[in-house]
C-alpha cells in the first residue's frame, strides 16, 4: 500500500506541474490553456527528437527543451493570445483548443500514433531502497525534482520582487498598473514560463510514460478537474490538489480499480457541491 501511495505521489507530481503552469497562466492572463496538454506532449517529443536526431541525452533535454518551448509560448502569446485577451475568455479557450488539435495531429502525421521508446537515463536506472520497499530510482528522482520545482516557484512568488509583482498583477491588475508597474510587460514571460513548465513535465514523463501524440490529451482534462478542486487561480491550491488527486487515484486503483479513472471527477463533483470556488479558491472569482 505504501508503494501504491508512492506511485500516486509520482503521478500527482505531473498533475501538480501541469496544474501549476495552468494556474499561473490563468491568474495572470485569464486564459484557460487547452493546449497545455499538447505542450506537455511536445516536451516529451522534444526529448525524443533530441536523443534520436541530435544525440542529446536526457539531462541536456531537461535543460534545453523547456526553455525552447517556453520561447515558442512567448511567440504564441505575442502573436495571437494577446489579441484575444481583451475579449470574452471563451475565445482564448477556443483558440487553444484549435491549437491543441493542430499540434496533436502535426505530431501524429510525423510520427504516427504508436508510442516511441525513450530509455531511462543510465544514472537513474537502478532502484532505491526506501527502507520499507525498494523503488525505481527514476521515479524517486521525478518526485524530488517536481517537489523542488514547486517549492522554487512558491519561493519566487512569495519572496522575490518579481513574484510580488506577478502576484499583485494577478490579483489586482488595474491597481498594480496604477501603482506604476507595467503589468503588460510581465504577461508574456509568465505565459512562456507556464508553457515551459508543461514542457518540463513532458521531458520528465518521456522515460516513464508512453511517448505518443495523444499522451497530453487525456491528461489535460484530468488536470482541469485538479485545478477546479484546488481552486482556479490559486497556485498553492492547484499544487496541493495535484498531489492529493494523484494519491487518491492511486489508492482508489488499489481498492476500487473499476473507479480509478473517474475518482478524480467524483472528487470534483463533491468539491463543487460543497465549495464551488474550490478548496483554496476565492469566492469572488465566481459569479
Amino acid at each position: 500500500m505504501l508503494q501504491q501511495a508512492f506511485n500516486g505521489l509520482v503521478g500527482g507530481a505531473f498533475y501538480a506541474l501541469l496544474a501549476l503552469g495552468l494556474s499561473v497562466i490563468f491568474g495572470m492572463l485569464g486564459v484557460v490553456n487547452l493546449a497545455h496538454g499538447a505542450f506537455y506532449m511536445l516536451g516529451a517529443f522534444g526529448a525524443f527528437v533530441a536523443l534520436d536526431s541530435f544525440g542529446l541525452n536526457f539531462w541536456l533535454s531537461l535543460l534545453l527543451v523547456p526553455p525552447l518551448l517556453g520561447v515558442a509560448g512567448i511567440v504564441l502569446e505575442r502573436l495571437f493570445i494577446r489579441r484575444l485577451t481583451p475579449l470574452d475568455p471563451l475565445y482564448n479557450f477556443l483558440f487553444t483548443f484549435g491549437l491543441a488539435l493542430i499540434l496533436q495531429d502535426l505530431v501524429k502525421r510525423e510520427y504516427g500514433v504508436s508510442s516511441q521508446p525513450y530509455p531511462r537515463p543510465p544514472a537513474l536506472d537502478g532502484t532505491v531502497d526506501l527502507g520499507l520497499f525498494t523503488y525505481p530510482a527514476y521515479q524517486v528522482f521525478v518526485l524530488g525534482v517536481s517537489v523542488l520545482m514547486c517549492v522554487v516557484v512558491w519561493v519566487v512568488l512569495t519572496r522575490t520582487r518579481v513574484g510580488m509583482i506577478v502576484r499583485a498583477a494577478t490579483e489586482r491588475p488595474e491597481l498594480t498598473g496604477a501603482l506604476g508597474i507595467d503589468v503588460g510587460r510581465w504577461v508574456t514571460p509568465v505565459f512562456g514560463f507556464g508553457i515551459a513548465l508543461a514542457a518540463f513535465a513532458g521531458v520528465l514523463a518521456a522515460p516513464m510514460r508512453a511517448v505518443n501524440p495523444l499522451m497530453g490529451a487525456d491528461l489535460i482534462i484530468t488536470v482541469f478537474a485538479v485545478v477546479v478542486i484546488g481552486g482556479l487561480g490559486s497556485v498553492f491550491g492547484s499544487v496541493a490538489a495535484g498531489f492529493a488527486v494523484g494519491l487518491v487515484s492511486a489508492l482508489g486503483n488499489l481498492y476500487v480499480p473499476a473507479l480509478s479513472q473517474i475518482l478524480v471527477f467524483i472528487l470534483m463533483a463533491v468539491v463543487l457541491l460543497w465549495r464551488p470556488a474550490g478548496l483554496f479558491g476565492r469566492e469572488e472569482a465566481f459569479r
Binding site: L90, G98, I102, D105, L232, A258, I262, F265, A269
Partner: protein
Amino acid sequence: MILTRLARSGRGGWLLLAAGLVAAFALPWLIYPPVALDIACWALFAAAVDLLLGFTGLLSFGHAAFWGGSAYCTGLIALHTGLPFPVAIAGGAAFTALLALPIGFLSVRLSGIYFAMVTLAFAQMIYFVANQWRDVTGGENGLQGIPRELFGLDLSDSFFFYYAGLPFVLAGLFVAWRIVRSPFGRVLVSIRANPDRARALGYPVDRYKLQAFVLSAALAGTAGGVFAIGHGFASLEGVYWTTSGQAVMMVILGGIGTLWGGAIGAALIVQLQDFLATAGFAETGIITGSIFIVVVLLFRRGIWGTARHLLAARRTPAAPADVAAESRKSVDTPA
C-alpha cells in the same frame, strides 16, 4: 432548414424557410446520402450547443457526453429490445436529459470559463465510464450492428433512411426555435446579457440555466441517437472531448446566437472531413484546427452572423437578434 432564421423578421423569412426545407429534402440527391445524414445530425447538435452558448451565455464543452451517451443508450435499446428505432431514439434522448440533470445542477453553479471547464471534465468522466464498462458499451470496439427496425420496413439504403431520420432533426430544430422565441427563451437571453439584473428582477437564474441545459442536452441526445441508428454503431469517439469541441466549432463558424448558423457550419465541416477522408488525409485536426483558429481570431461573427450583420446594415431597424449580438460584446468588455 438552413436559412429559416429570418422567418421571424418578415416576408423574406418565409422564402428562406422554404429554401431551407427544400435544401434539407434535396440534400441526399446532391451529396452522398450518409454524409447528408451526418450533416443533418450535426446541424441539430450544433443548434443544441447554440441554445446554451448563444442564448444563455454558457459554453458547454461537454456536450459529447449527451451526443455520445445517447448514441450508446439508443443503440442498446435497439440492440436488446428490437423496438422500432424512433422509440430507441426517444429513449436515448430521455436518458440524456436525466444524465444532464446532475451534471447541469453542479455545472450551472459556475459561469463563464469555469462552466466550460467543469462540463468538459464531466464529459471526460462519461468517456472513462464508457471506456471501462465493457460489458455494456463494448469498450474500444463500441456497439456494433445496431438495427434500423421500423415495422419491418426496409431502411437499409441510407438514401431512404435519411428521410426516416430527417423528421427527428427537423422536429428538434423546431423545438429549439420555439424555445428561443418563447418567453422562457427571452429570459435566457436576459440571463446571458446580465445575470445579476435577471436575478434582481426575480428570475431564479440557476433554475433557468439548468432547464436550458437539460433541454439542450435532450436535443443533442436526439441528434446523437439518429446518428447512432444511421451509422449502425456507437463508439467512444462520440463521447470524446474533441466531439464537444467540433460542435462548438460548427456553432462559431456558423455564428453564435443564430441557431441556424450551426447548420451551415455543420454542412461545411462534415463535407470537409468527408473530402479529407476520401483523399486519404487522416490528420484532419490540422485543417479543422486551423479553420477554428482563423474564425476565432478574425471572423468571430461567423457566416450567418456576418450575413445578418450586412443585411441589418442595409435595413435601418436592426434585427432583434443583432441586439443580442451586441450585448454579447458588452460581456466581452465588462463596462
